[in-house]
């Protein structure tokens, strides 16, 4: 998908009229595109008029149910964005991204290695993966009470994967989130997640093999070579 195609999806995106694959590509793009962000906001404001014109009194029992449910529902903490990431722009390269997040990506197997093309952006990476005929996209199911939502897109011909995560809270003290690519022979490749300050996790990864599952765990420390912690998100392929 070219950049021009992506720009032209702003209206369809605001209307929720695109499929998951295009949505993932657009969301990856629009975080770093001022034009699209402004378009989407304005289209959403416009659509709020259309929604408002449909205003209909809700059944009275609904309020009681809502109030009862929120009374027992924990609220998420506000986002605290470090100054270096405050613009919400994605750093220009994985190298910069890793540095900005002061995180280390640990290589478990010889084949898992970062490619150091410093000019490619996360959006480019995602678009390239999605453009492959064999690209696949899965949503990870929440297996715990940890907030967040995760999708992984990958292409085995390309040997690359892109993780699209949102609203991941900071890891508990001293612990780390890790993503695992689980292969048919049960070998695993591990990636330490480095969420941006706002809980977004946008990372490009190498996909050395066709996965049978993707899983995210909470590990006692960053870089644990085997999964020992609780599985908080999982998708089988």
């Amino acid at each position: 998908m070219t950049d021009i195609d992506v720009h032209h999806l702003a209206a369809a995106y605001a209307l929720d009229a695109i499929d998951d694959r295009e949505r993932a590509a657009f969301e990856a793009h629009y975080g770093s595109c001022d034009v699209c962000r402004s378009d989407v906001l304005e289209f959403r404001q416009t659509l709020a008029h259309l929604a408002h014109a449909q205003a209909t009194s809700a059944p009275t029992a609904l309020k009681q149910r809502v109030m009862a449910e929120i009374a027992t529902t924990r609220q998420l903490s506000p986002m605290v964005v470090p100054i270096s990431l405050a613009s919400r722009r994605r750093p220009r390269s994985m190298v910069a991204f890793a540095a900005a997040a002061a995180a280390v990506l640990i290589v478990v197997t010889g084949v898992v290695a970062l490619r150091g093309d410093e000019r490619t952006t996360y959006a480019d990476d995602l678009a390239r993966v999605m453009a492959q005929p064999d690209s696949q996209l899965v949503s990870l199911d929440n297996n715990s009470s940890t907030d967040g939502s995760f999708k992984v897109a990958w292409s085995n011909t390309l040997g690359e994967a892109v993780l699209i995560g949102e609203n991941l809270p900071p890891a508990p003290d001293g612990k780390a989130y890790e993503l695992w690519l689980i292969t048919p022979d049960d070998s695993m490749a591990m990636y330490v997640l480095d969420p941006a300050g706002d809980g977004d996790v946008h990372q490009r990864l190498d996909a050395p093999a066709q996965p049978t599952a993707w899983a995210i765990t909470v590990e006692p420390e960053a870089g644990t070579p085997v999964a020992t912690g609780e599985i908080i998100y999982i998708a089988t392929v």
């Binding site: 416009t46 408002h52 014109a53 205003a55 009194s57 929120i70």
Partner: protein, 198 residues
């Protein structure tokens, strides 16, 4: 495109209600204030329930989805960022998205029979709801009338029908690229007619 952009160029937040009562309620709710959230519910529930009902059609499904939307607003309240649009826009966006999620997941199991976007019965229980909504109805109807037929149909099938633009292309029997640009043109026209925040 350059001309359109120049004509309508104005600060995004120029239309934000300076008193921003709904935003204040949401910020208070973000600090755990359930009473404020109750007021927020009263202010937003006609919009949230109305748009959800319009999209999902089935009143009992609409209630479930509206409940999910409000619980999500409660959970996310502390993350509300007024610089990225008003609380009302945020609620409308969330409500529409959840309604779409519901119809798409239903569609995955069985194709919906009734696709007619104009059959949902609207009810207004109070005069205030009626008046407030009808003011926006008049403006929206007028704005919609300025769209070409295909723009209007494409926007309505997408927003209220819950179809992707590809599905809209099939329904209208035109090329996908055509629908994509009609949707875009239609939204730009609507934006120029309706302005920003309600």
């Amino acid at each position: 495109m350059g001309v359109l952009r120049a004509i309508r160029s104005r600060p995004v937040d120029a239309d934000v209600d300076p008193s921003d009562l709904i935003g204040d309620l949401l910020r208070r709710a973000g600090r755990g204030d359930q009473a404020a959230f109750g007021e927020l519910y009263d202010a937003l529930s006609p919009l949230v329930y109305g748009v959800v009902l319009k999209v999902v059609r089935d009143p009992s499904h609409a209630e479930e989805v509206a409940q999910e939307v409000f619980v999500e607003l409660w959970r996310l309240a502390a993350r509300f960022d007024g610089t990225k649009g008003s609380a009302r826009t945020w609620a409308a966006t969330l409500a529409h998205r959840r309604a779409i999620d519901r119809v798409r997941s239903e569609q995955a199991t069985r194709n919906r029979q009734d696709r007619d976007a104009n059959q949902a019965v609207r009810q207004h229980d109070t005069v205030a709801d009626e008046v407030e909504a009808s003011m926006d109805q008049v403006r929206v109807r007028r704005a919609m009338s300025r769209l070409s037929d295909i723009q209007r149909e494409a926007v309505e099938l997408a927003y209220f029908g819950g179809h992707t633009y590809r599905e809209v292309a099939v329904l209208l029997d035109v090329a996908e690229g055509t629908v994509k640009s009609r949707i875009r043109d239609g939204m730009i026209r609507l934006r120029d007619e309706l302005g920003g925040e309600s």
